[in-house]
C-alpha cells in the first residue's frame, strides 16, 4: 500500500472511480488545467479530457445547478466548490433542489452527485477560507454529509459517496490535506456510509468528533492517558446518516461524553449529538455533556490558533466530566 496525504487519497479515489465508471464527471473552478487549488483534481484533465473534467465559469450556483441537470440525465457528477466558505451562492440549488428532487418527484428523478469541498481552519485563511459549514447541510433532509478524518478514510468514503444514489456533501478537512500521511489501499476500496468508527478505545470518557478534530482528540487522549484517563474516540465519519448506535454504545459504556467540533458553538452539529444523548442515554450519564467548539464569532485570522479546539481545551473538558 502506498503512503498518501489526504489530498492525494482524494485524487486517487477520483481517478479510480473515473476509470471504473465513465459517467463520472468532475466540474468546478480551476479543477481542470490547474488541477484544483489544493491539487485534488490534478492529472484528471490530462487523463480524462475536458468533457469529463470541466473548468466552469465563476458561479457556485451554476456549478451545482448544472451538476443537478447532469445527475438527472444520468451522469454521476462530482462538483467541487473551491472552498466550503464559497458554497453559499449554491445554497439554494443544494437545499431547494438537489435535496428535495427525489421526494418531490415521488422518486422519479434523483440527484446522485457528490459535492466535494475543503473545510475547516488551520491554514491562516481567515473569515472566508476556514469555515466548517457542515451543520447547515445536516439540517436539510435529503442530503448526506460525510467528513473524512484521514487519507484512507477519505478514499474509502469518497468512493462510497460517489456510488451513493443520493446527493452527498463530502467535506475535506484542509488542515490535514498535507499534514496527515498514512497507507492507503490501492485500487477499489470503500468505507460504507452511515457507520461510525472507534478511532481509539477507552473506558472512561467518550470523545465524539469528525474530520480534522479526530486527530486533535487523539492528541488530547494521549495527554489524558498520562493521568490514567482512558478516552474512547468515536469518529462519526458520516453526520447524515448518523450512526447513533455506535455513539450510544460508547457513551453507555463510559457514562461520560465530550463533543468536539470546530464550527461555531451555537447550533453546531455536536449539539445534535448532545441532544440525542440527552434523550436516549441520560440514565447512563454520570456527568454533563461538555462541548469543545469554535466560538460564536466569524472565523478569525490573527487569533486563529485560539479559535480552534486544541488538545489543551479538550483535556480540560475531559478532566471536568471525569472529576464531576
Amino acid at each position: 500500500m502506498a503512503v498518501m496525504t489526504l489530498w492525494e487519497a482524494v485524487n486517487d479515489a477520483l481517478k479510480t472511480e473515473m476509470r471504473r465508471d465513465d459517467r463520472v464527471v468532475v466540474l468546478g473552478e480551476d479543477v481542470g488545467v490547474k488541477g484544483g487549488v489544493f491539487g485534488c483534481t490534478g492529472g484528471l484533465w490530462k487523463e480524462f479530457g475536458g468533457d469529463r473534467v470541466i473548468d466552469t465559469p465563476l458561479a457556485e450556483s451554476g456549478i451545482i445547478g448544472a451538476a443537478i441537470g447532469m445527475a438527472l440525465y444520468g451522469l454521476v457528477p462530482v462538483p467541487e466548490i473551491q472552498f466550503g466558505d464559497f458554497i453559499y451562492p449554491a445554497f439554494d440549488q443544494i437545499v431547494s433542489e438537489a435535496a428535495k428532487m427525489r421526494y418531490r418527484s415521488g422518486g422519479e428523478y434523483t440527484c446522485p452527485m457528490t459535492i466535494r469541498t475543503p473545510i475547516g481552519g488551520g491554514i491562516r485563511g481567515g473569515h472566508y477560507h476556514s469555515q466548517s459549514p457542515e451543520t447547515y447541510f445536516t439540517h436539510t433532509p435529503g442530503l448526506k454529509v460525510v467528513v473524512p478524518s484521514s487519507p484512507s478514510e477519505a478514499k474509502g468514503l469518497l468512493l462510497s459517496s460517489i456510488r451513493d444514489p443520493d446527493p452527498v456533501l463530502f467535506m475535506e478537512p484542509k488542515l490535514i490535506y498535507r499534514t496527515l500521511k498514512e497507507e492507503v489501499p490501492a485500487g477499489d476500496y470503500t468505507v460504507p456510509l452511515g457507520q461510525a468508527r472507534i478511532a481509539r478505545e477507552g473506558r472512561h470518557v467518550t470523545l465524539i468528533a469528525w474530520g480534522s478534530m479526530v486527530s486533535i482528540c487523539q492528541k488530547a487522549a494521549e495527554q489524558c492517558a498520562q493521568d490514567d484517563i482512558e478516552c474512547e474516540i468515536v469518529d462519526c465519519r458520516t453526520l447524515v446518516p448518523l450512526d447513533e448506535a455506535t455513539i450510544l454504545e460508547s457513551v453507555k459504556k463510559t457514562g461520560r461524553a465530550v463533543v468536539v467540533y470546530e464550527a461555531p458553538r451555537t447550533s453546531g452539529f455536536g449539539g445534535e449529538i448532545s441532544a440525542i444523548l440527552a434523550e436516549r442515554a441520560i440514565e447512563w450519564l454520570e456527568a454533563p455533556i461538555v462541548r469543545v467548539t469554535g466560538f460564536d464569532t466569524p472565523f478569525p485570522y490573527a487569533l486563529e490558533s485560539l479559535y480552534m479546539p486544541e488538545p489543551g481545551r479538550i483535556r480540560e473538558a475531559v478532566l471536568k466530566v471525569w472529576n464531576f
Binding site: 466552469t56 465559469p57 450556483s61 441537470g69 440525465y73 418527484s105 443520493d166
Partner: protein
C-alpha cells in the same frame, strides 16, 4: 439590439405577418389546436375546483397556451423539457393523460408524486418532463446541465426550458444562460414574457429594451416572437431546436404574451393591475386567433370545433371523477423517497408516528384520516 417581433398569423387590424407559416400537416395543426383547447378547459375546470375547495391551489395559464404549447411542439418525444408552473399544455402535448395531472392536483393516493407538492408542480419522467418546483428560475441552470450532459455523451437530443419575465432577474437565469453560452449547450430558453411578475410590471424587472437582447450578454442569438401567435412561436422554436441539434448552441426566445388571470388562486390582480389591460389582451386571445386561422384555411368547421371542445370536456370530466374517487396517500409515504433507502432515523420517526396514530393519541381529525 432588440430583434423585431416575429408574427405569422396576420389579423384584421392586428398583427401583420413578418414570417412565413411553418410547414405543418393538417393533422399537426389540428393537434396543436386541440391541446390548446384542452389546456384552456383544464384551466377553467381547475379554477372552479379550487374555488370549491376540491383542490388546494391553482395557477391559471389562460392566454399563454400558444406560448408554451407552440414552443414545445418543436421538440421530439425524446427531448427533455423543464417547464415552469404555468405550462400545463406541455405535459398534455407530450401525451400525459389529464387524469394523471388531476391526481397530482388532488394530491391523492394515485398522484405519481405521492401528494408531496402543491398542485401544478408536475413531474412526468415518461415524458422527460422534469419535476417542477416553486423556486423561480432554478430549472434554467438545471436544463443547461442536462444539455451539457447530452453534449458530453454525444446524445443528439436537446433540452427546452420555460420561465417568466420575472425569472430573468434571478441568479439562475444568469448562470443558466452563461454556462450554456460558454459550453455551447443544446438548450433552448423560452422566456414567457407575460408582462408581470405577480404585481411587478416588466419595467420594474429590467431596464433592458427587451428580454431577447439579454441573449447577447451570453453570446447566443435572441429571438422575439408574438407569444399569442402559436405558429410564430412554433417557427421560432423549431429554428432554435434545429440550431441546438446541429451543435450550434443555445438560443433565447422571448415569447411576448400576457397573463389574463390572476397570478394564482391566492392572488387578486385587481389590486395592482388595470382590468382594461386584460380586456385589450383578451382580444388577442391565442386560441381565438388560431381558430380564425384554421377556419380560414378550412381546417376547422364550427362542427369540428364543437367536437374538439366536447371531447376535451369529456376527458376532463372523467379525469376529475377519477381523481375525486381516490383517497389520500398512505402515512408511510411521508418517510419514503427522502433517500433511496430509509435511514434508521426515518424508520424510527415512522414507527413512532404510526404507533401514535394507532393509539389515537394525536389530536382528533387525524386519527384514521390517512391510511397507514
Amino acid at each position: 439590439m432588440t430583434p423585431d417581433l416575429l408574427q405569422v398569423m396576420s389579423e384584421p387590424g392586428g398583427a401583420t405577418a413578418t414570417a412565413a407559416p411553418p410547414d405543418l400537416s393538417d393533422a399537426d395543426l389540428r393537434k396543436l389546436y386541440r391541446v390548446m383547447v384542452l389546456t384552456r378547459l383544464l384551466d377553467e375546470r381547475a379554477i372552479k375546483l379550487q374555488r370549491q375547495g376540491r383542490i388546494g391551489f391553482y395557477v391559471p395559464a389562460e392566454g399563454q397556451e400558444a406560448s408554451h404549447v407552440g414552443s414545445a411542439f418543436a421538440l421530439g418525444a425524446d427531448d427533455w423539457v423543464y417547464p415552469s408552473y404555468r405550462d400545463p399544455g406541455i405535459a398534455l402535448l407530450r401525451g400525459v393523460p389529464v387524469v394523471e395531472m388531476m391526481h397530482q392536483c388532488y394530491a391523492n393516493a394515485a398522484d405519481n408524486t405521492r401528494g408531496r407538492q402543491m398542485p401544478v408542480h408536475y413531474s412526468f419522467k415518461k415524458a422527460n418532463l422534469v419535476s417542477i418546483s416553486s423556486p423561480i428560475a432554478t430549472q434554467i441552470i438545471q436544463a443547461t446541465g442536462t444539455a451539457m450532459a447530452m453534449k458530453i455523451r454525444k446524445d443528439p437530443r436537446v433540452v427546452m426550458t420555460w420561465f417568466g419575465d420575472g425569472a430573468t432577474s434571478a441568479n439562475d437565469f444568469h448562470t443558466g444562460l452563461n454556462f450554456a453560452g460558454v459550453f455551447a449547450s443544446p438548450c433552448v430558453f423560452v422566456c414567457e414574457n407575460n408582462g408581470w411578475a405577480i404585481s411587478v410590471p416588466l419595467e420594474g424587472q429590467t431596464a433592458s429594451a427587451s428580454i431577447a437582447v439579454k441573449a447577447e450578454a451570453y453570446g447566443m442569438p435572441g429571438v422575439r416572437v408574438d407569444g399569442n401567435d402559436v405558429l410564430a412561436v412554433y417557427a421560432a422554436a423549431k429554428q432554435a431546436v434545429a440550431r441546438a441539434r446541429a451543435g450550434h448552441g443555445p438560443t433565447l426566445i422571448e415569447s411576448v404574451t400576457f397573463r389574463i388571470g390572476a397570478h394564482s388562486s391566492s392572488d387578486d390582480a385587481s389590486r395592482y393591475r388595470d382590468p382594461a389591460l386584460c380586456e385589450a389582451w383578451k382580444k388577442k386571445d391565442p386560441i381565438d386567433r388560431f381558430k380564425r386561422y384554421l377556419t380560414q384555411k378550412k381546417l376547422l368547421s364550427a362542427k369540428d370545433d364543437e367536437a374538439v371542445h366536447k371531447s376535451c370536456a369529456d376527458e376532463l370530466q372523467s379525469a376529475i371523477e377519477a381523481a375525486e374517487k381516490m383517497g389520500p396517500p398512505a402515512v408511510s409515504t411521508l418517510f419514503d423517497d427522502v433517500f433511496a433507502q430509509r435511514t434508521a432515523q426515518l424508520d424510527a420517526q415512522h414507527e413512532a408516528l404510526k404507533d401514535a396514530l394507532q393509539r389515537g393519541v394525536v389530536s382528533k381529525g387525524h386519527h384514521g384520516e390517512f391510511p397507514l
